[in-house]
Every structure is written in C-alpha cells, then in structure tokens.
C-alpha cells in the first residue's frame, strides 16, 4: 500500500516537474473571494461554460455522422434520428443544450447587469461577454441552418431578405451570405464552416479571455447600497474585503457552481429524453410550398416584431436597431464605470431589465401563436357551426358558402375556429350595418384586401346577407337610422302608389 502511494506520488511528480501546472492551478483555485459571492446568484457563468463544453462534445459526436452537403444533410439527420442507436438522444442533447445555453447566457448577462459587475475594473470582461452573447446567438442561428429542413431553408430566405435591405451593398451581402445567388449547396457548406470552425474557435478564444479576467480581477463583490465604485479606491477596497471577509474560491464558492452545472446538465438530458430532438421537419425542397416556416424559440420575438412593424419602419428598424443595441451594450461599462452597484440604488436598471424581460416574454408568446398569420386551411378545414346557418334564409346560406369558399375564414374566425388576422365575426352584425359590411367587403382597408374585383355582385350580396345574421339572439343587428327613415318613406310611397294603382273595388278586370 505504502509502495503504491509512493509510486503514485512519483508519477505525479514526474508529470508536475515537466508541466509545472500546480502553481497556477493552486493560485486560481485558492484565491480569496469575498464571502458573500459564494452565492447561488453567481453560478450562471460557470453553467454557461459547462454547457459550451457539452455543445462541443456532442457537436463532435454528431459530426461523425452528419453529412454537411445540401443533398445529404437532411437524410443524414433522419439516419441519426432513426437508425443510429441513441443518435436521437445525441441530437436531443445538442439541441436542448443550445436552448439552455442561450437562456443561461441571457440570465447570466441580466444578473451581471443588475449586480453592477460590469463596472470598473471589469469593463472589458463585460465587453468580451457581449461578443460571447453575439457568438452564442450566432451558433444558435447557424445550428438551425445545419438542421437542413424546410424551416432552415426559409429561415435562410428571411436572413437573405433582411440582408437585401442594406443600402447599396445589400445584393452583394446576400450573395456572401448564401455563397451564391440562391440558397443551394454552397450555402450549407459555408454555414457548416461557420458553425463548426469559425464561431466556436473565436468563442473559445473569447471565453478564455473572459475567464482569465474573472480570475485576475476577482469575482465581483456583492453589491451593497452605498458601497460606491471609484477608480482610485476600488482595487484596494476589493482586496481588503477579499482578505478580511473572504474565503478561498475552492471549495468555498465553487461547490455551488459544481452543483448547479450538474443540475443543468441533468436538466438538458431529461429534456432530451422526454421531448426528444428538434426536427428535422420537411425536406428542404423549395418547390414544396405547403409550409409554414417558423424560426427557433430564441428568434420568435424578432418574428413577432416583423409582423407588427408598419411597413415603412421595417427596413430602418432591421438595419439600425441591432447595431444601436450592440453599441449601447458595448458602451455601457465605459459610460457607467463608476457609481452604485446595488439594485436598490439603480431603479432604472431594474426597470429596464424587467421591461425587456416582459416584452421578450410577450413577443415570444405571440410568436408561438402567430395571430397575424392566415390559417391556410381554415376555409376548407373548419366548418361553420351548424347553429349559425340553421335558421338562415337560402340567400344567407349561399353567403355562408361564399364566406368559406373565398377564404374569408383564413383570417376571420367564427365559433372559435379560423384565422385571427382579422377580427372574429361572431357578432359582426352588431358592429357594422349592412351598408358598412358591403363597403368593407368591396373596398377592404386596414389589413383586409378589397374583394370588389374578386367577387361578383351576387356573391357580395349573398355574403353580406350572411354576415348580417352574425349576431347574438338577444341583440339585434346594427342598423342605420337614416336608412330606416328612407325605407319607411319608400314603404309609405309604395303603399300609396299601390293603393292608387290598385284596381277599383267593384270594377272587373
């Protein structure tokens, strides 16, 4: 036993004599950090780090089977899913690992912002972190392209359409993005190079710099109201704090990192087992147009914004806002390098993060339900509720047929089914008079096409007669008072006319 221990020590010493890693590792592990930083709030950075290595590891394993060719990629993903034992699990790990990584990076960023950790002397750590966020998002997008299915194909189309809006050089940028004039083999090859070599290589380099600075500058002290950051005094104050009320990083703070990272890896694995891998959806054949392309979860908010922006604002928004946002993020630590760190004294910061989080949540929620998209098969797939036409006149029933056949249903719901692009029409007759209905159908307006040229007068008449029946039983349809007056006069006139023309009693025809 004693001999074995001695041998082990000798082997260790042999390596240590050559590697000389003991000193730097000990320095990194045992450096003093302020006691309060051993907190569950400080675990997100290390979790993102762990997830990065999970992604690299699973990515390499997938690359052993995946074929980065536009002609074969989709089929090789299906082989991974269905034929290679546990290939689906590896794809699940990589896909869910990606979602978790984006989420953890965003949470890490929000925490660092709220804790004022970007202030002096950690400005550069934040700036490098902004690039890490951008590269993480870049990995998510390029990864979605490598899952070379319909969503990937049309997602690339959306990317190209956005690029094409850049003034003067838009066309060239589209060609650079796609590797040619159109989405084809060259496109997948260059996205493979980006996803597997260019971005991960840069990412690893930046992660090294990021972690290096965390080790050199120390973990950010817990923000205390009134403990103001000043360039002249901060370093001294921090070292004083770390040495009078500090603990060694390992194991004092590190055990929480370890446990959280382990829990996150377990969560990724559970998601991969329970929910399985993402896609691939239909094959990337652009001649199959029966498709409803949608971006991955973390880009749904952009998808939502693009449906609600007024057309004239879209290009400026797409081209200016992202650059502005990145510029603000990069400039933040340079502008606000000093001052309060505590969220108790930074209401604007708290408000900003909560507003962004709530907006992001709402936009993402809308992106999952897409109320702005026509339901392409509602006209043929969603029948009208029977009670809506049970007592209808033949003309109104004919109108109901027009309503279905002319795809009105794709944008308007009745009885809870149908599109949501336009308003639900269950009670439309209580809101619009028959003249207004006719006008609206013929001229469109707002977000509705004008049907004047697409429907015959008889179809329009039948349609508005049907729409006129869409009101609750206890609520009459809207009517136009002046029309009533005209109708009453006309009725009286025609009655008078009738009595004048009526055959005289007693006379025989």
């Amino acid at each position: 036993m004693q001999r074995m221990k001695q041998t082990t020590l000798n082997v260790y010493a042999w390596f240590e004599r050559r590697l000389q890693l003991e000193g730097p590792v000990k320095d990194a592990a045992l450096h003093q950090v302020p006691r309060q930083t051993a907190s569950w709030w400080y675990v997100f950075g290390s979790a993102a780090f762990t997830l990065l290595f999970l992604q690299i590891f699973t990515g390499i394993l997938l690359a052993m089977v995946y074929v980065p060719s536009a002609g074969e990629a989709w089929r090789s993903l299906n082989v991974l899913n269905h034929q290679i034992p546990l290939g689906w699990f590896l794809r699940g790990l990589h896909g869910w690992g990606s979602n978790f990584m984006v989420a953890i990076v965003l949470i890490h960023m929000a925490q660092v912002f709220l804790f004022g950790a970007y202030k002096f002397p950690r400005e550069l750590t934040w700036i490098v972190g902004v690039f890490l966020l951008l590269m993480t998002l870049g990995m998510a997008f390029t990864g979605q392209v490598l899952r070379f299915d319909q969503d990937a194909y049309w997602g690339l189309g959306i990317g190209a359409s956005i690029m094409s809006r850049v003034p003067w050089i838009g066309g060239g940028l589209v060609h650079l993005l796609l590797g040619g004039p159109i989405i084809a083999g060259a496109t997948l090859s260059r996205f493979f190079a980006l996803h597997v070599f260019v971005i991960p290589g840069t990412l690893l380099l930046f992660v090294f710099v990021h972690v290096w600075m965390v080790l050199k500058l120390g973990v950010n002290d817990w923000p205390m109201p009134g403990r103001v950051v000043r360039r002249e005094t901060y370093m001294e104050e921090y070292h004083h704090l770390a040495h009078t009320d500090g603990i060694p990083f390992v194991p004092g703070a590190f055990w929480k990192d370890l446990i959280f990272s382990g829990a996150i890896l377990a969560a990724v694995a559970v998601c991969a087992v329970v929910f399985g891998p993402f896609g691939p959806s239909g094959q990337p054949d652009p001649s199959i147009i029966q498709t409803v392309p949608k971006p991955d979860f973390f880009f749904l908010w952009i998808y939502t914004i693009l449906s609600y922006l007024p057309p004239q604002m879209e290009t400026p928004f797409l081209l200016i806002v992202p650059l502005l946002a990145i510029a603000i993020l990069l400039a933040l630590p340079l502008i606000a390098a000093e001052g309060e760190k505590s969220w108790y004294r930074r209401p604007v910061a708290v408000l900003l993060v909560s507003t962004l989080a709530v907006s992001w949540g709402v936009l993402t929620r809308l992106g999952t339900t897409t109320p702005w998209s026509p339901h392409m098969s509602a006209w043929s797939g969603d029948p009208l509720p029977v009670n809506r036409i049970h007592d209808a006149t033949p003309l109104a029933r004919q109108g109901a047929v027009v309503f279905q056949v002319k795809q009105c249903r794709n944008c308007h719901s009745v009885g809870g089914s149908g599109g949501e692009r336009g308003p639900a029409l269950d009670t439309v007759a209580t809101r619009l008079t028959i003249d207004q209905l006719r006008f609206k159908v013929v001229t469109g307006g707002g977000n509705m096409p004008a049907y004047g040229k697409n429907l015959s007068p008889s179809e329009i008449e039948a349609l508005v007669r049907f729409l006129e029946t869409l009101h609750p039983a206890n609520e009459p349809p809207a009517y136009d008072a002046s029309r009533r007056a005209v109708e009453a006069t006309q009725a009286a006139e025609s009655a008078g006319e009738a009595s004048r023309l009526a055959p005289h009693p007693g006379s025989t025809p």
Partner: protein
C-alpha cells in the same frame, strides 16, 4: 559575435551610469533586433501578399446580379390556360450536383392572354416566405406574417412594402422562358419598377 553591438545613438560625450547602454540592452539596435524586425517585416509582407487572394476567394460570390441570370424554360405554353395562375417549376440554372432538392425552384405563371404572361416569384416581398395562391378568392397569401397580394401581384394587405417580385419572360418556339437564377429580394428585383403607359408596360430603372 553575439556580443557585438552597433549603437544607434550618437556616442554620448559624457558617459554616465544611467545612460550607458549595456550590451544586450533592448534599446540598442543590435544585429539581433534588426533581424527580428526584418523577420516581422517579411511576415507582414507575405501576409499582405497572401491576403489579396484570400480576400478575393472569400468574396467570390459577390458578383453583379446580371452575372447570375440566365433564361430557363418553364415548359410549353399549353400548360398555362389563359386567365389562370399556375405553379410552375424549374431547376436552378447554376446548380451543382450536391445541391440536392434545393435546386428545385417554383414560381407562379399567370397567363393574362394568349400572348401576355406574368411570372411571379413565390417569395413574399416582405421576408421571402413562400406565398400560396388561392384561385377561389384570386389572392396570394403568405403564411409567415400575413402578407396578401391580388391576382396581378400587387400588394393587397399586410406587411409587404410592394407587390410580388416578377421575372422577365419571353416565348421561344412555343416555350415560356424566364430570366432566373437568383433568389428575388429587395436588392435585386426592387430596382425594377413597372411604369404603365398607354403603349404598354416598360421596365425602368427607378
């Protein structure tokens, strides 16, 4: 040999302890430092010489739009009844064997009269999603953000800023041909606006 130094500074007339240049002091231009700098210069020069072809290689796809276009056939005219809009397919003219299914491209052909056509890209003018044609209501609808177009391709509603992109077409010995080859986007197709005159439509750079 390595101890020989060539002082760059004029000889100090009054050498003192503080300014005396010791052999090997990096402030001196020794032969070693000169060679070191020459090494950097050589690498810089080679770097520049290499950068030119590398940049050229990287920017190879960046070409004028016209260089990607070519005329492709959509088939015989009989396949397109007058007054109807039909989905037509063609192969990407600049395809490679590894493109797989991506070299299938679809477009909509509207035959306005026996000799007049309109050929629309399936890509929505908003963000390029594939629009679907509904012959019953004579509308194109986009599944992504709800853009809608009339039968003549003009914008009806939704977020698109303009009507559907069109291809130039011509009839060659009973075949309908279109000028195709690149994904229609605002950068290449939007520059063409159609100006209606009494004598007919003309394409005009706008």
């Amino acid at each position: 040999m390595s101890n020989v130094t060539y002082p760059a500074n004029p000889q100090p007339t009054t050498p003192d302890v503080n300014t005396a240049i010791a052999p090997g002091d990096p402030r001196t231009v020794s032969r070693r430092w000169l060679l070191f700098k020459a090494g950097i210069a050589l690498n810089g020069l080679v770097g520049v010489v290499l950068a030119v072809p590398i940049v050229r290689y990287l920017f190879a796809p960046w070409r004028k739009d016209a260089s990607y276009d070519s005329w492709v056939s959509l088939g015989a005219l009989d396949a397109f009844p007058v007054g109807e809009t039909r989905l037509a397919y063609y192969k990407n003219p600049s395809r490679n064997s590894w493109d797989g299914e991506t070299d299938n491209v679809a477009c909509y052909v509207r035959r306005e009269s026996t000799s007049r056509f309109k050929v629309f890209a399936i890509n929505c003018a908003h963000l390029g999603c594939p629009v679907r044609w509904f012959p019953q209501s004579q509308l194109f609808m986009c599944p992504c953000h709800g853009g809608v177009y009339y039968a003549d391709g003009s914008r009806a509603s939704g977020p698109p800023e303009r009507g559907l992109f069109t291809y130039d077409w011509k009839i060659v010995s009973g075949d309908l041909q279109i000028d195709a080859g690149q994904m229609p986007t605002l950068s290449n197709t939007a520059r063409l606006v159609t100006i209606s005159t009494r004598s007919g439509d003309s394409k005009c750079s706008g």
